[in-house]
């Protein structure tokens, strides 16, 4: 089985729209939305949820006022200043380290597991999809990302599907690291702006750091040809395959408004042709055809 993960560094470069277009083109695959923080793929794929699971992150400290003698040891030990003078735990600040729980002389602090989101197995008109929703202001997004990727892989194995396409989060931190570890290849979707170039470089360094092969495409390339060329030059220097360019086109927004992929909205658009070509290059690329599974 192969897994392609779509990332970008900078947000809003077109990851999810392009990913949904791939969903139209790819065969025998499972879709996975690993942007659990602000998942959007479902807005284009309209999943029918078949399985619904709670996601339990770590524990969280809860002080039992009946047992608490207000000795203050927990407040001294807590490095997140999550315990108030009234000995109440701020659940947003609590890191879930449990140090207060272990040291409380009265055993007055409970450490219940916290449900910090849900994850789903769904059917879509493009095939099965695994996705999730992290609770607002929650931690453990990396753990949930790892979980949805693992479940997507299991589902693909069960249904004998040999490809996983994963929509990754923006940035380079914890959820991105959890999205790319062990992937077959990354598609970096970037845009020809100073920010697009800057963030693409950081994500390319991250790919090299974790030794995952990268490929790149430039969305809205005609907005600034100089920046497009700079991105392609940088990609070559970093050993990242340049797959192609997608023109600036309002079809992306128009199809999104209708909840459709670009191919469903217009079968013959210019961006459609560009995306189709990029997809063909991906599935024919040496890295996606190497022996060995993820």
């Amino acid at each position: 089985m192969k897994e392609l993960v779509v990332i970008s560094g900078k947000g809003g470069t077109g990851k999810t729209s392009i990913m949904a277009a791939f969903a139209s083109l790819a065969k025998n695959k499972v879709l996975c939305d690993a942007d659990v923080d602000a998942a959007d793929l479902h807005l284009l794929t309209d999943p029918k949820i078949k399985e619904h699971h709670d996601f339990q992150g770590g524990g969280i400290a809860v002080i039992n006022p009946d047992k608490c003698t207000e000795c203050g040891l927990c407040r001294d030990l807590c490095r997140w200043e999550a315990i108030s003078e009234q000995f109440e735990v701020d659940s947003i600040e609590c890191e879930g380290c449990g140090v207060c729980v272990d040291f409380c002389p009265e055993q007055a602090i409970d450490f219940p597991l916290k449900t910090c989101g849900q994850w789903f197995i769904s059917d879509t008109r493009f095939g099965p999809m695994v996705h999730a929703r992290l609770g607002i202001a929650e931690e453990n997004s990396g753990k949930l990302v790892a979980l949805v990727r693992q479940e997507a892989k299991k589902l693909a194995e069960k249904q004998n599907l040999n490809l996983l396409i994963t929509d990754g989060p923006p940035g380079i931190g914890c959820p991105v690291i959890a999205s790319i570890g062990g992937a077959t290849a990354l598609l970096i979707v970037t845009e020809p702006t100073v920010s697009g170039l800057h963030d693409m470089e950081r994500v390319a360094q991250l790919a090299a750091h974790f030794k995952v092969p990268g490929m790149v495409c430039v969305n809205k390339f005609d907005l600034n040809i100089d920046q497009t060329q700079a991105i392609e030059k940088l990609a070559k220097e970093k050993n990242i395959t340049v797959l192609g360019r997608i023109p600036f086109d309002s079809v992306f927004t128009k199809s999104m408004v209708q909840g459709k992929t670009i191919f469903e909205y217009n079968t013959k658009s210019k961006i459609g042709q560009a995306v189709e070509q990029i997809w063909r290059k991906i599935i024919e690329s040496p890295v996606m055809n190497k022996k060995g599974d993820v």
Binding site: K10, D37, L43, C97, F103, A137, G173, F210
Partner: protein
């Protein structure tokens, strides 16, 4: 006063709003770029950088001479950052959350703390504007401690503008918590709306007054405006889609320096925020 600029969805124009507003105000103002994973504000401000500082988070180091391999450190660690196998102690610094539990629990005082590099903080200025940003080290997973470090540069006697990261989880909370006003930036598309709703819930949880900027306001559909009205979320500014703005952005140029009329609009935006934040 501290104004944080957040969005939910990435790429909606947070940095555009943060940098243009900061430059329009010009003096007695600082901009803290807290999007440490993908910091971009410097590309538009071109600040003179005066100082660079590495930031570290404490992680355990075991003194094997003192260690009796009792495993108490491994047992207390909820993040699996220490393992004891026979007479070998392994630490996994990249998994460590720096809670200090292992050091507290060790009966032999065999655990001390060394630093794991989180990244760097650079400080500088553009004319009278004070600038600070963090750059997360490539391969480092945890951005909140670096974000909190960037925020420690807040000058209470000045206006502070925070460029927050996208999303709705711990990094954006670290950037918004305790600020006086959250200015949310979105685009009127289904993705923009969906992620705006999540971000609004996060801001509500923190109980901070808020307002909305709609960027590329003439693309997409009307649902963001309908939502804002229903939520009593005041629309403080609309920036229409203009290829000239998009091209200026692509080159790293500020709208207020390239196009007439925008400086006044951003100053008006700031005036409105001042009234709402009190």
């Amino acid at each position: 006063m501290i104004i944080s600029i957040a969005s939910g969805k990435g790429g909606t124009g947070k940095t555009t709003v943060a940098t243009n507003m900061a430059v329009s105000i010009g003096s007695d103002v600082q901009l803290l770029d807290c999007d440490v994973e993908a910091p971009n504000a410097h590309l538009f401000l071109n600040p003179v950088i005066e100082e660079e500082k590495s930031v570290f988070t404490p992680v355990p180091e075991i003194d094997e001479e003192k260690c009796t391999f009792c495993k108490k450190c491994a047992e207390i660690c909820r993040f699996k950052a220490i393992a004891v196998i026979g007479e070998i102690v392994l630490t996994f610094p990249e998994l460590c959350h720096s809670c200090g539990g292992c050091m507290e629990v060790c009966p032999e005082n065999a655990v001390t703390e060394i630093g794991r590099n989180l990244g760097v903080i650079e400080t500088g200025h553009k004319n009278n504007l004070h600038f600070v940003h963090g750059r997360l080290r490539i391969g480092e997973a945890m951005s909140p401690p670096l974000i909190r470090e960037v925020r420690s540069y807040t000058r209470p006697d000045q206006l502070t503008i925070i460029d927050a990261p996208p999303g709705t989880s711990c990094p954006v909370i670290a950037a918004m918590k305790g600020t006086d006003f959250v200015l949310m930036v979105t685009e009127p598309t289904p993705f923009g709306l969906h992620d705006l709703k999540l971000a609004v819930e996060a801001v509500k949880l923190l109980g901070i007054p808020r307002g909305l900027v709609i960027n590329r306001s003439d693309i997409g559909d009307n649902r963001v405006k309908e939502y804002a009205e229903k939520e009593n979320l005041p629309i403080l500014m609309e920036i229409p889609f203009d290829r000239k703005i998009a091209e200026a952005y692509s080159r790293g140029e500020l709208i207020v320096e390239e196009m007439p009329g925008w400086k006044e609009k951003f100053l008006k935006l700031y005036d409105n925020i001042k009234e709402m934040a009190v």
